[in-house]
């Protein structure tokens, strides 16, 4: 198939669709990052805590979600868990994102990335010297205060590169949600293809858009990494 300027011009006419796709992909990823991270934190603390039942439950969850394909999880969430789609309000987010498809997408992505992120966070917490906790507890800090002020800030600093990697993965994997009709970037590609009979040009546009989202994300996290590593400089 030939790639022509005319093809890009044809795709350009549907710029609005791509723009909506970007807004949708960003919202999808941002919400996934937030919910995924909260879930991951809870899972990690469950796995490291003293309650044996929670240890086991969290392990089973993590192993299950890491050992099955994302697409299967997405379909199960969309077609099985949310089968009765009337339960979700059918309004349109920003006037164009169908919430009853968007929401299951967020749920599936969050459940999946939560499993991966929790392993990263667990490794981060375990990498902190036990002496830090002993010092904090000997000063009278509670377990919770120790986690919040001493262990987690250091753990998160250590795992920032891995977290950045996971965030970028979420942006890229969110494209899978087009299979359940979420109007993100890939769904814009399909729509433009249907209208113009051109596939190469919209795909190139989509590639560029994804890159414009993922590259700044990793750069922003790099910036935070530098700021947080002040304590490492001699």
């Amino acid at each position: 198939m030939k790639i022509t300027m005319a093809g890009f011009e044809a795709a350009w006419k549907y710029g609005e669709l791509f723009w909506q796709g970007v807004v949708c992909t960003v919202s999808l990823s941002a919400l996934t990052v937030i919910f995924g991270f909260i879930l991951a934190l809870v899972l990690a603390l469950c796995r490291l805590g003293k309650v044996r039942v929670l240890n086991i439950l969290a392990s089973v969850y993590v192993e299950l979600f890491r050992a099955t394909p994302m697409l299967v999880q997405l379909f199960i969430v969309y077609y099985v868990v949310f089968a009765n789609i009337d339960l979700i309000p059918g309004f349109k987010l920003f006037g164009f994102i169908r919430f009853n498809r968007f929401f299951p997408g967020v749920v599936a992505l969050s459940l999946n990335s939560g499993a991966y992120l929790s392993e990263i966070i667990r490794a981060g917490i375990q990498s902190i010297d036990i002496g830090q906790t002993e010092a904090a507890r000997s000063l009278g800090l509670t377990q919770r205060q120790n986690m919040r002020h001493i262990v987690l800030p250091q753990a998160i600093k250590n795992i920032l590169p891995a977290i950045a990697n996971e965030f970028v993965t979420i942006i890229k994997e969110s494209s899978i949600c087009y299979t359940i009709g979420v109007q993100e970037i890939m769904s814009a590609v399909t729509a433009v293809k249907g209208a113009t009979f051109k596939i190469a040009e919209p795909l190139i546009v989509a590639t560029a858009l994804y890159f414009c989202l993922t590259y700044p994300t990793s750069k922003i996290i790099e910036h935070f990494e530098r700021r947080m590593s002040l304590g490492d400089k001699r």
Partner: protein
């Protein structure tokens, strides 16, 4: 002997590992009185650190009692059935570690201010003033805004000592405070500890510094194989040891 002055009463303290096959502590009983500078000496693996760490329950004993200011903190509830808040007792027992354990992501002054502000909920201004004064006391006021990694070992340990002091503890526990230091930095840390002792701070010190034990300590505990082998005044311990185990130990460490 239980006196009204005793701050910590240790009763038949045991710590077993591996289902009792390893006895790190094997029935230790001792009273630590207010104003005591109790120095714990003994061979490696003899239970010194385990003993010290059991006092604030960083190490949970297998059996026995640690009665701190009248409360057995090894129990979940006191005699009246009230729940014992271990954190409330721990904040009155300052601890200094062999490897300093400063918080590397916080500046020196933040290291000091954290516990008073989060645990005692004291105000920012008064806490800062107090912590700056503490840093001045150990000659490190100019390091307030630096991060621990920029400090020498001796400076780190002095910061760790004042970090514990910032909570106004009733007793200070030292776990081999000079063992990880370069030899030329040992003196500056011992000087701070001597000053503390002179000001009447109750101290329990695990150390290999026999000079310090002899000069500053008013009581010496000799622990070996998890047992309290000999206890006494430094003069007696160093000049007239009774047990063969202590004689053997001293012959190896002195001179």
């Amino acid at each position: 002997m239980v006196t009204s002055d005793s701050l910590i009463q240790v009763r038949d303290l045991c710590k077993y590992y591996d289902k009792g096959r390893i006895k790190a502590l094997d029935g230790i009983s001792v009273d630590i009185n207010r104003g005591d500078v109790m120095v714990v000496i003994g061979p490696s693996g003899g239970g010194k650190s385990t003993f010290l760490r059991s006092l604030n329950l960083l190490e949970v004993p297998t059996s026995g009692e640690v009665i701190f200011e009248g409360v057995d903190i090894t129990k979940k509830r006191d005699a009246n059935g009230e729940k014992i808040d271990l954190n409330a007792h721990r904040q009155k027992m300052g601890m200094v570690f062999q490897h300093f354990n400063l918080f590397p992501h916080k500046t020196v002054i933040e290291n000091l201010m954290l516990a008073p502000m989060k645990v005692k909920k004291t105000g920012g201004e008064e806490t800062r003033e107090k912590c700056v004064a503490l840093l001045e006391r150990v000659g490190l006021a100019d390091k307030a805004e630096t991060y621990p990694i920029q400090l020498s070992g001796g400076q780190k340990q002095r910061v760790a000592i004042v970090r514990a002091l910032a909570m106004d503890p009733d007793v200070m526990l030292f776990d081999e405070p000079t063992s990880a230091l370069d030899p030329e930095m040992v003196g500056e840390v011992l000087d701070v500890m001597k000053e503390l002792a002179r000001n009447g701070m109750t101290m329990v010190v695990v150390t290999h510094e026999m000079g310090f034990a002899r000069e500053v300590g008013n009581r010496i505990l000799f622990l070996a194989s998890g047992k309290l082998v000999e206890e006494g005044h430094p003069e007696q311990i160093f000049n007239a040891p009774e047990s063969d185990r202590l004689k053997d130990f001293l012959s190896k460490v002195l001179i």
